[in-house]
Symmetry: C2
Subunit: 228 residues, 2 copies
């Protein structure tokens, strides 16, 4: 479902160049559960932004479900992002002037859902991540881990076929992290949703069947768990 | 150096009340290294905000170095925060339109340091956290873990006697986390700086000599490591 070929991303700041990705080759099949790891600054979020149709590569190709995506228009990207991809941002990126409930309803506004349907679906997903009692709080009235869970709920609400989660448990205690990763595992095994999770923690990576390691903009290892 | 007595914090939202802290009693001596743990939403950041003179308790007293702080003016708080406390925010709170270097220089502007002194000190602290090569990047040109390290550098730059770090390694890989915690340990043992670190990870808590557990706004355990 995801295929990147010789992907490069170089940021330019004046006459300084930062080579964030230096030739990434990767193939992820439908229904896989992949953990992406690597040291701070190794290119993981840059990679996720390209896969999530939020940024263009400097060189190389990205095929999403067989279609070359790097050359589509921004409108076409927005459409793909809304319908097919759920993105949990490393920095959450919630709207600060709206409640948790409204933040989660927002992606459904573009899908023609009626108001009551959006409300019920948002309540359902927020309860799944343990926030049923915080629906009317704005982000600055939520703890760090609660904001992270609103971001997770928002990514899941449109029932995407691909979920890209950039460090979804960084602000969560171990019990809540286990709840979230078990939820991801269930969505993956029961509904075949493809999951790509960036994490720094081995315990979290263990929920995946495959571990891809980034270092300095390249992939240095790519290992599958033994089928047990 | 920190003493809180029967501390309460209740947030009010219209006619809803959220009792975030429900009677906290805690004493931390100068030079201690304390880890604060507990599940998402248990009151850790709320506690840190009061100890860091960023928020007032609803009830109870807070003594910083023997002086009752809860009743001081906002100007007096700002002075204490700038001179004596280094705060690493869970959400980083960097200024988005200025570079990493400028973000770290900022706390020194209120201390009468000359421009060159500020520059050199900021460069020194940014190198300590491994960001010597990213001085001119703005926050949105930095990875999540790099932003977190700018926030850490900024908290250390004025040489505070108390460092409050709210999940300082949440976005860092294990090697970089170990570097940061070793730095904290060194500041604590060599310079006697009191460290209070909120963390969700046991590996990180192990750098401290004492572990305080929050649950639902109260402290449920407070354990010291055996002196070894
Ligand atoms: N401004 C606010 N208004 C209303 N409720 C709030 C506000 N800030 C925090 N809360 C609530 O207070 C409780 C404690 O929040 P706090 O941020 O202290 O938790 P925490 O222990 O730091 O959690 P985390 O580990 O997720 O960061 C949470 O249930 C949160 O929803
Ligand atoms: N907009 C930008 N302009 C310039 N450099 C950038 C920009 N965004 C990221 N970088 C640089 O590109 C490199 C890779 O960043 P990226 O965010 O992909 O890292 P990461 O692996 O996600 O790190 P972390 O684990 O800390 O989140 C970093 O060294 C960063 O400084
Ligand atoms: Mg990142
Ligand atoms: Mg918190």
């Amino acid at each position: 479902v995801i295929r990147v070929e010789d992907l490069y991303k170089t940021y330019r700041m004046g006459d300084i160049e930062v080579p964030a990705l230096r030739g990434i080759n990767l193939k992820i099949d439908r229904g896989e559960f992949v953990a992406v790891m690597g040291s701070s600054g190794s290119g993981k979020s840059t990679f996720m932004n390209i896969v999530g149709c939020l940024d263009r590569p400097s060189r190389g190709k990205y095929f999403l479900e067989g279609e070359e995506v790097g050359s589509l228009s921004r409108d076409q990207w927005a459409h793909i992002r809304n319908k097919r991809i759920g993105f949990v941002f490393q920095g959450f990126n919630l709207l600060s002037r709206t409640t948790a409930l409204e933040n989660v309803e927002l992606p459904m506004m573009y899908n023609g859902f009626a108001g009551k349907q959006r409300h019920n679906r948002a309540v359902e997903v927020l309860s799944l991540v343990g926030l049923g009692e915080r629906l009317d709080h704005a982000p600055n009235q939520l703890s760090g881990g609660q904001q992270q869970r609103v971001a997770i709920a928002r990514a899941l609400v449109n029932g995407p076929s691909l979920v890209l989660a950039d460090e979804p448990t960084g602000n969560l205690d171990s019990a809540t992290s286990a709840d979230i990763m078990t939820l991801f595992q269930r969505l993956n095994s029961a509904q075949g949703i493809t999951m790509v999770v960036v994490t720094h923690e081995s315990d979290i990576a263990n929920y995946a069947q495959r571990r891809v390691m980034f270092r300095d903009g390249v992939i240095v290892s790519d290992e599958r768990k033994d089928a047990s």
